[in-house]
């Protein structure tokens, strides 16, 4: 049931916060969904209803509420699996966020407890990331190479904000064990050429992980079609609650990986001196999981599916085209990222001559109620590459309108007047 057009005024009514006023009578103009998205009533009510009427622990409570909670939690896994086209529901691991999913996979390599050759790592082996990564797809790999003596390498970024794959064969070699890159950049909006990276990785037998935190919320992403080995994303950027993320991985790889955290529910049997572990997905879900958050994520994917991912993608594409044109009219504005619609999402980062992004963000918020993100957006190396300390970032979602982009442009003109 996918529609291809979207009635944004009707959508906006699904998100209560969008009709609130900020102190001083400012209407809210929320252009920070790349940071975290707002939540529709359907998600809020699902979470409330579960907490109020069905809540108990999952997997281990032998009573009616335990059964209801377990059923709701596991059916959220079914929903997510279907939403991303996972070949098996057991390949969907609930984590607390995308960062945990990335750390989990990084932990699996060079681990003394894991002798599977796909996951051994030591001096001479290489891990490849890129210069446009979020810190969550950099730091776990730094930990890994520090722990194992392997070498960290990375793709550069071109001046127009694309992954520089000119020397892909020199970068991804027989020594590469895993390549982990963003599916879509959280700063540039760039959608990366996954097929090219996969082709080269397969030639040399390297695994491929995608940080899909910025892609899964915005367009249909199908695990089988994508062809990667691991994919991480997070619930709060896709109209779901915070505190719930997803690691999707190929079953045969997940089976070959060591557990990440030890605790309740991840075990099969425990003795005083050793343990055996539950099969996936529970092997990776130690302790009481984020129960209502997962159930809320299930409601979120139901909501997104109801609207239609194709309709959402088309709507955002329209907004991006409109914003690219509108921002070109702002004097001294320098867009950091692709200035065409080709292979890019609805995230636009930019600088203004002589005005620091923190000042831009402060004035947009205080004067116009416009929420943007300012700073390095957890992608400091990318900003260093462009020779700038920070950017202002507007990121759009299904509930944004061209009127809000007009408000942003008016706001930027005002900021320039204050600092003239």
């Amino acid at each position: 049931m996918t529609s291809t057009s979207l009635d944004v005024e009707r959508i906006r009514k699904d998100f209560p916060v969008l009709s609130r006023e900020l102190p001083g009578g400012r209407p809210l103009v929320y252009l920070d969904s790349g940071n975290s998205s707002q939540k529709p009533t359907a998600v809020v009510e699902t979470v409330r209803e579960h907490l109020a009427m069905h809540y108990s622990n999952v997997g281990r409570a032998m009573h009616a509420l335990g059964a209801e909670s377990t059923e709701a939690y596991e059916s959220a896994r079914d929903k997510v699996a279907e939403f991303i086209g996972a070949p098996s529901r057991d390949e969907v691991i609930f984590t607390k966020n995308a960062s945990e999913a990335l750390n989990l996979v990084a932990y699996s390599f060079g681990n003394p407890g894991n002798t599977d050759p796909r996951f051994t790592l030591g001096p001479g082996d290489e891990v490849v990331i890129s210069e446009m990564e979020h810190h969550s797809n950099i730091v776990p790999w730094q930990f890994l190479v520090q722990r194992t003596g392997a070498t960290l390498k990375w793709f550069g970024v071109t001046d127009d904000g694309r992954l520089d794959i000119a020397d892909i064969s020199g970068l991804i070699t027989e020594r590469t064990k895993i390549v982990s890159i963003a599916h879509q950049s959280n700063v540039l909006g760039t959608i990366n050429p996954v097929a090219d990276v996969l082709r080269r990785a397969r030639e040399v037998g390297a695994l491929v992980m995608l940080d899909a935190s910025q892609s899964v919320p915005h367009h249909a992403v199908d695990m089988a079609a994508l062809g990667a080995d691991f994919v991480a994303f997070t619930g709060h950027k896709m109209v779901g609650p915070s505190g719930i993320g997803v690691l999707w991985g190929r079953a045969e790889l997940l089976d070959a990986m060591p557990p990440f955290m030890g605790g309740g529910e991840m075990i099969e049997a425990v003795w005083m001196d050793h343990s055996t572990y539950a099969p996936v997905p529970h092997k990776f879900e130690a302790g009481t999981p984020p129960i209502v958050e997962a159930i809320g994520l299930g409601a979120a994917v139901d909501y997104l599916t109801g609207v239609g991912m194709e309709a959402i993608e088309a709507h955002e594409r329209g907004l991006t085209a409109y914003a690219l044109d509108a921002l070109r009219e702002v004097p001294t504005l320098r867009l950091i990222g692709p200035d065409s619609l080709d292979q890019r999402g609805a995230t636009l980062s930019f600088t203004l001559d002589g005005i620091h992004p923190h000042d831009v963000g402060q004035l947009l918020d205080d004067e116009f109620g416009i929420a943007v993100r300012v700073g390095h957006h957890c992608a400091r190396p990318l900003h260093l590459r462009f020779g700038i300390p920070a950017t202002t970032r507007a990121s759009f979602y299904l509930y944004n309108t061209t009127d809000e982009i007009d408000a942003l442009v008016r706001g930027l003109h005002h900021v320039q007047k204050v600092f003239a």
Binding site: H356, H358, D359, E367, G375, H376, P389, A390, V418
Partner: protein, 146 residues
């Protein structure tokens, strides 16, 4: 609105025309401070003169108008004063910034720095205003230790 009161004319003036900017020799101590949440940074040098006086405070850095203007005002208020006098200004400025907008500023002590009173209402920006002042305090301690 609130933002307007934070961006006092005096702050904007110091931002557009920073006083004493640029690193100079000689110096007794140099420090580098960063604000990891926003990436603002400052390198600051202190040169002590005769009779416990601050001969020069020179600095270079990058950041928002608040952090850069604060460094410029700091330069004006400290250069030519005694170490003791400047440290009491630092203390008063710190008290004002950490007062969540509820502290009455002592204008006699702070001079132009009272323009930053509005910043205290924005917890996220207090660190911007304090960056250079904390760097200065650090540099003075280090130069005195030499």
């Amino acid at each position: 609105m609130i933002g307007e009161s934070m961006y006092q004319e005096l702050i904007l003036e110091h931002y557009k025309h920073p006083q004493g900017r640029g690193l100079r020799d000689p110096y007794d101590a140099e420090v580098h401070h960063v604000n990891p949440t926003c990436g603002d940074e400052i390198t600051l040098r202190v040169k002590l003169g005769d009779a416990g006086k601050i001969e020069d405070v020179s600095y270079d850095g990058q950041g928002c108008s608040i952090s850069q203007a604060a460094a410029s005002v700091l330069h004006e208020l400290t250069t030519g004063s005694t170490v003791e006098e400047t440290l009491s200004v630092v203390d008063e400025f710190t008290r004002l910034m950490q007062g969540r907008g509820k502290v009455e500023a002592d204008e006699d002590v702070l001079g132009d720095a009272v323009a930053f009173a509005g910043v205290a209402k924005f917890p996220a920006r207090v660190k911007c205003a304090l960056l250079s002042w904390m760097a200065y305090k650090d540099a003075v301690v280090r130069s005195a230790a030499r």
